[in-house]
């Protein structure tokens, strides 16, 4: 029995059979490597630069200096004092006093307990090592010469810190209550907003999918409107509605809109469409047989709801929850406008970087912000991977049956939600047209004279359109081509799955964090890519990378619908794959390509967080103008610019719709029989 096996093992190993790489394979792998490299350079490297920045600290090093003190007559006896020893003797500074920011100074007179600025004692100070720095007043001394000063001048000596690395920044962060509180605030707001939004969006989606109420098309259209505006816009509307001069401020019973209330209401507005889309998809597919079974088992509608409807939609609900949570916790525009003194993580990054130029601390807050964002993202991925098909081939699609009472309730409910969304937009448009709220309510177009305000004027609007178009064209090409290579190339399994993983990463990285990471990476003079800093190119790159994942997934879904046989056929006909790609794949997937373009265009116009650290005076953007005009107190012009973004995006949507229809008729005719 054992003889044959011995025979086999004793046989010499045959040559490893390797399929030969065709030219096509090489082209496709090359393309994949190029796009993967793009993602590594625009995502991994900058994030690494940011991480290392968060560990870059400043410290006062007393050992870098030497001092001498004279007697009462101003005569030095030549004794050189080491400040480290002085500090050990006097205990003037504790170790915590030496951790510093780039801008910190340390006065030295504390080292001399009997110091008096009136005394005739003279002092000498010098840098004991090259690289040491101290100031007298604001004059820098960085050489190693002894400097003689009288007491009154010695009082003005300030030591400057040197760069080092360590966890000081994180220690500092977690021991500053004002900063650390933001973690709690952000989590609380994100959880509340998630619960409220998902609940509201669920019933809205339920009404649209499971009732026979009227005007479903209109409601669907309205529900998607918030996607077309920057997240700051609801904040501006809330100021006009519930601010101290607000139209409806009595509704708040004296509570202030500036703070958690405003942030939650605004968050519900701008995350609503995202939650609605996901839940609606989950509710759209359902098996009527389960409901028939419930009826025949005499289950009450309430019981049916909890045992059939909710379980079948649970993955949608969970996914919507994570998406909303992530959007709220990483959003920066809304809490900036309406948050008042209520600190959130994303605003802290902005305050540290723009307000204080404390880039190291900005990097620390970014690292802290990434943690919940990645956590929510990973959890969502995990839950989705558990999902199994609930819809089998034998399923019967559920058809809602009319129920006059329920339909009326749903219509009222949906109208209220619709009123909320339309109301917010209408208030902004109204505010933009009023001359001087609340003292002069006559209408005028004064608020559209953007050139007279800080924020870049009309140019920023045109820049935004340019950014939107460039992002749509370049982004769609890169992302769709990348998805094609991953989906349709042969072999190279490791590389392909690695690519899939990298392509998922941008979704987990908040826009602000990406932007800040870009400063560290691209604004480094040693980086050869430094030239794109401050140009339109870096804005396009940041937008494409930031919105990569959703576009990639859309493309992959569309490509999966195409059989791999196409590739085999083209190969057997000896046609290069690129020809197949341009002649067959792209035309067949054109609806998806158009969807990706409009997604990129709209988001490039509305995003604030991905570009707020990257625009330059020449490339100011409309969404940034909204932020800056609001910041300067020009709230009405900010609303006007916000509505310009809305109209532009709405127009782009309509063009997209017409194009899609026309394209569908021309290229998708084969689908119809």
């Amino acid at each position: 029995m054992s003889t044959p096996s011995t025979n086999i093992t004793s046989m010499p190993p045959g040559p490893v059979i390797k399929s030969k790489l065709s030219r096509d394979d090489i082209v496709m792998r090359g393309g994949m490597v190029v796009i993967a490299l793009y993602l590594i350079v625009t995502l991994a490297f900058p994030l690494y630069a940011m991480l290392s920045k968060s560990f870059s600290t400043y410290r006062f090093e007393l050992s870098q200096y030497e001092m001498q003190v004279s007697d009462q007559d101003g005569v030095f006896d030549g004794t050189v004092l080491n400040p480290v020893d002085l500090n050990a003797a006097t205990g003037a500074f504790e170790d915590a006093d030496f951790s510093a920011g780039s801008d910190s100074r340390l006065a030295v007179t504390k080292l001399f307990p009997d110091f008096s600025f009136r005394s005739p004692v003279m002092y000498q100070i010098r840098n004991a090592q090259p690289g040491g720095r101290f100031l007298v007043g604001s004059t820098l001394h960085d050489d190693m010469e002894w400097l003689t000063l009288d007491s009154n001048s010695f009082r003005r000596v300030q030591l400057r810190p040197v760069k080092s690395t360590g966890v000081d920044n994180f220690v500092n962060y977690f021991s500053t209550p004002a900063l650390f509180n933001s973690v709690k605030n952000s989590l609380v707001i994100a959880v509340i907003s998630t619960v409220v939004t998902v609940t509201l969006a669920f019933w809205f989606a339920y009404a649209l999918n499971r009732s026979c109420m009227r005007f479903k098309g209109v409601f669907r259209l309205i529900a998607m409107a918030p996607i077309l505006v920057p997240s700051l816009l609801p904040g501006i509307a809330l100021v006009y509605l519930f601010g101290n001069q607000g139209m409806l401020k009595e509704l708040l019973f004296g509570a202030s809109i500036y703070g958690p209330i405003g942030i939650v209401i605004g968050s519900v507005f701008f995350t609503f469409p995202h939650a609605f889309l996901i839940i609606s998809t989950a509710l759209a597919i359902s098996d009527a047989r389960l409901y028939e079974a419930a009826v025949s088992l005499r289950a009450s509608p309430w019981r049916t709801f909890w045992t059939v409807t909710i379980p079948s939609a649970r993955y949608g609900l969970i996914s919507a929850g994570f998406v909303v949570f992530n959007l709220v916790i990483t959003d920066f525009g809304l809490p900036k406008v309406i948050g008042g003194q209520f600190n959130m993580l994303a605003v802290d990054i902005y305050k540290q970087v723009i307000g204080q130029q404390n880039f190291e601390m900005g990097a620390v807050v970014s690292v802290v912000l990434i943690v919940p964002a990645i956590f929510a993202f990973a959890l969502d991925r995990y839950v989705q991977s558990k999902q199994v098909a609930t819809l089998s081939a034998r399923s019967v699609p559920f058809q809602p049956s009319p129920n006059a009472k329920m339909d009326r309730i749903f219509l009222i409910y949906s109208s209220l939600i619709g009123l909320f969304i339309v109301g917010i937009l209408a208030v902004c448009q109204f505010a933009a047209l009023v001359k001087f709220w609340p003292y002069d309510l006559s209408l005028s177009l004064n608020n559209y004279q953007f050139d007279k305000m800080d924020g870049g004027g009309w140019n920023s609007y045109y820049n935004s359109i340019k950014l939107g178009l460039l992002t749509a064209v370049i982004g769609t090409s890169v992302i769709f081509f990348g998805a094609y290579l991953v989906e349709k190339s042969n072999g190279f399994r490791v590389g392909r799955s690695l690519f899939q993983m990298i392509a998922m990463l941008p979704m987990a990285i908040p826009g602000m964090v990406l932007g800040l990471a870009y400063i560290f990476f691209f604004n480094n003079p040693a980086n050869p890519l430094n030239v794109i800093y401050g140009t339109m190119a870096i804005l396009v790159i940041s937008a494409v990378t930031h919105f990569y994942t959703v576009s990639h997934l859309t493309a992959v879904t569309a490509l999966k619908q195409m059989d791999r046989e196409f590739e085999s056929v083209s190969a057997s006909l000896k046609q290069p794959t690129m020809k197949l790609f341009t002649r067959v794949t792209v035309p067949v997937c054109l609806p998806a390509v158009l969807d990706i373009s409009i997604y990129l265009f709209v988001n490039a116009l509305t995003t604030v967080s991905a570009v707020v650290f990257l625009y330059s005076p020449k490339t100011s953007l409309a969404s940034i103008a909204v932020l800056n005009m609001d910041d300067a107190g020009d709230i009405a012009p900010a609303a006007a610019m916000g509505m310009m973004i809305f109209y532009t995006n709405a127009g782009a949507r309509i063009i997209h719709l017409i194009l899609s229809k026309g394209v569908l008729r021309r290229t998708q005719a084969w689908r119809a029989r």
Binding site: S182, F436, D440
Partner: protein, 339 residues
Amino acid sequence: MKRKVSTLTSLVAGALLATSVAAETELTVYTAVEAEDLARYAATFNEANPDIKINWVRDSTGIITAKLLAERDNPQADVVWGLAATSLLLLKSEGMLEAYAPMGVEKLDAKFVDGDNPPAWVGMDAWVASVCYNTVEAEKAGLTPPTSWQDLTDPQYAGHVIMPNPNSSGTGFLDVSSWLQIFGKDGGWEYMDALHNNIARYTHSGSKPCKLAAAGEIPIGISFAFRGAKSKAAGAPLEIIVPSEGVGWDMEATAIVAGTANLEAAQKLVDFTVTLGANEMYNTGYAVVAYPGVAKPVEHFPTNLLDKMIDNDFEFAANNRAEILKEWQSRYDGKSDPK
């Protein structure tokens, strides 16, 4: 045909000649001056110096300062024209400024010139803290107009005052550093503790409190006089109050960046910035300028402003900035957090 060629040659020659005659020096000038003023400033300068071309790089004070500091080892700017003196002090303490005494600097108010000789920077004009008081909303809330900083701590103003956050706004920092100078270190923090009880919220930018007061969103906004005058001119029911203890201020100033390749042109530009003509030019927006006797009153500007400006110790402000901001943050940031 031949004629055509010769015309062409002469045209080309003319063009070449023209460029060589103009032999323009180009200066890269960093500035935080309002965008609408820049063209006017450059035009006035070019009347006297047609051979020097200014290339502006403009952004807000904080961003321009950060940009300059980031380029410390490889400066891109030749001149800084119109940046807060506190920012220039930071640059000076990094050894980034080329000391130069411009022609006629002795005619300027000494307050506006760096103490060193030769000075590292020279001032242009001052922006001064003030309180914007909305008379309509204040009457609705039954408030009496405050006349001093101390008045603002009165409980009647609780929740009716907005000021900029010094951590993100230069104006906010100017207020805080002036209170620490007026009331002393302990007195200053005590004052801010009391004022904090009345503050509705802190804004990110320095002009927003006044614009919010102008819009009636809040009766009292601590901001700067220039902003208040502008809003008042736009028709807002504002009173600009100059508190009796004195008000903090900062100035826009000019300096040469050390290591510039165009030192001669840079000096010409700085010479120009201290002239009478230049100061008259600053006066269109700013009521207080460096050249004594130039300033004509600006519409809606409080008249006693100049007397109320404190003897600002810029060195104190610059050297204690990091510490003051840290202290401020630990005391007041996150106002709405439950206690």
